[in-house]
């Protein structure tokens, strides 16, 4: 009983902050303890393209922002006081320079940021467009190419060229650090497949068995794989979920063959989308946000009727969750980094839309409220918890 009381007091003494990255800047939304009122802090970097904004869960105060503008090259901004002051990285992610006459790659933008393992303070990973993997050992101040990936000939073949990528550039994303083992990493490339390292990034190998590809292409070739979002179940790190260009999948390690769990979605909705979120304490529960992936790929909510879909049995079945969301005529969708969860009980779910709306649910998706409108196109939403 005393423990319960203490735990409740600790929970009450923390509040959720939403980190919202958009095409035109970044915003922080500070929630009250009930998560019912939100204080706006922003814009930060107005006019900058912010692909990702993350708080370091190890110190609870260091923020990193992946930024560029329409004119200027990419960089990383860093704050150690929750955004009151920002300093630019001394050495942002950049590929190795090649000699004269060779065609070297240049980072267009840093797309993804992942804090390192809890035992590796100040380690961060970054994924870029075009596909590159970078690491910082000093809290995001200096970045260097990480692993052999960026210059490995086979991986370069799988990455393809910039012309082969998604509309705003091919990307390396979903960098995952196994909470039990800092040397066990996953990452995904759009396109280029899902890959695993068990030796701290010295080498990677593909993890694409069971995944489907667009009709007519060889599913044995990582080049043709387009994982949109890969997530690890926090309380069961051997379980991975994936929202792919070709469906929703689950993989329970040590198995290496993905199981398509999106077949049980309603046929009129399908199992195409970008984001996927896993419950922090229940590995059988996950949420997706389907979109229209038919014909020319409109990338809108199917039928203009947005909804979250939840599974509570690891993908055997799915339930539609749309209470509070527009009943129709809503032609937006949610990007791969723009849906997230907090760790409260019940879990808070949050997503940001391509039309600049920020939605929140305090009851695991059963009901939804719009907490901000008229923002620029939202690229990423992260939830962090702060001490009051």
């Amino acid at each position: 009983m005393a423990l319960d009381t203490e735990q409740a007091a600790q929970t009450a003494a923390r509040r959720v902050v939403l980190l919202v990255a958009t095409r035109k800047g970044a915003w922080l939304y500070h929630g009250d303890p009930a998560r019912s009122a939100w204080r706006t802090d922003g814009p930060h970097f107005l006019g900058h393209i912010i692909s990702h904004l993350r708080l370091d869960p190890r110190d609870g105060r260091t923020l990193l922002a992946a930024a560029k503008t329409g004119h200027l090259g990419p960089t990383i901004f860093r704050s150690t006081d929750l955004g009151r002051h920002w300093q630019e990285a001394e050495r942002p992610p950049a590929f190795a320079a090649v000699g004269a006459g060779a065609e070297g790659r240049a980072v267009d933008h840093t797309f993804w940021l992942t804090p390192g393992h809890p035992d590796e303070a100040d380690v961060w990973y970054a994924g870029t467009s075009p596909q590159g993997l970078f690491r910082s050992d000093d809290g995001g101040i200096n970045w260097a190419p990480f692993s052999c990936l960026n210059d490995d000939m086979l991986y370069r073949k799988w990455m393809g060229t910039v012309q082969d990528g998604t509309p705003d550039g091919p990307k390396l994303h979903s960098i995952i650090v196994d909470p039990r083992d800092a040397a066990h990493l996953y990452m995904a490339m759009s396109s280029g497949g899902v890959h695993e390292s068990t030796d701290g990034g010295k080498s990677f190998h593909p993890l694409i068995d069971g995944l489907e590809v667009v009709e007519g292409f060889d599913r044995g070739d990582a080049t043709f794989h387009d994982p949109h979002c890969v997530r690890l179940a926090p309380n069961r790190p051997d379980r991975l979920y994936q929202q792919n260009h070709c469906g929703i999948y689950r993989l329970d390690r040590p198995a290496t063959t993905w199981q398509r769990i999106g077949r049980s979605m309603p046929a009129e909705v399908g199992d195409i989308g970008f984001p996927l979120v896993v419950h922090p304490r229940d590995a059988d529960t996950a949420w997706v946000f389907p979109m229209d992936g038919s014909t020319v790929w409109p990338r809108t909510s199917p039928g203009g009727k947005p909804a979250v879909y939840a599974t509570h049995d690891a993908g055997e079945s799915w339930q539609r969750l749309d209470t509070g969301l527009p009943a129709g005529d809503a032609w937006w969708t949610v990007k791969r980094q723009a849906m997230t969860a907090d760790a409260r009980d019940p879990v808070g779910l949050y997503f940001g839309t391509t039309s600049g709306e920020l939605w929140a649910s305090r009851d695991e998706g059963r009901t939804w409220d719009c907490i901000a409108r008229h923002l620029p196109e939202i690229y990423a939403v992260e939830a962090a918890e702060l001490a009051v």
């Binding site: 329409g70 004119h71 942002p92 590929f95 070297g104």
Partner: protein
């Protein structure tokens, strides 16, 4: 030489005009980066290519090559070219 800084880069220099020295465009940009760390990478990528939406003008003429020699008495104008909405 005097360097006119576009608005997108004045967060580094805090003023419209800056001073930087060097015999070539590359040397001037390197000196500018010593004075305002980080500014060069926003204009020049890691393969020493001028970024897509950055232009340099000296005496009203566009400088397209980082090896181009510059007259110390000239003014270097850095321009942010159109890049969409």
């Amino acid at each position: 030489m005097k360097v006119l800084i576009p608005s997108a880069l004045r967060s580094y220099t805090e003023s419209g005009w800056a001073e930087a020295n060097g015999a070539t465009l590359a040397a001037v940009l390197a000196d500018l980066d010593r004075r305002y760390p980080g500014i060069r990478f926003r204009m020049i990528d890691e393969q020493n290519r001028i970024r897509a939406h950055i232009r340099f003008f000296v005496g009203g003429v566009q400088a397209r090559d980082l090896a181009q020699t510059l007259d110390a008495n000239a003014e270097l104008i850095i321009v942010q070219a159109l890049s969409g909405g």
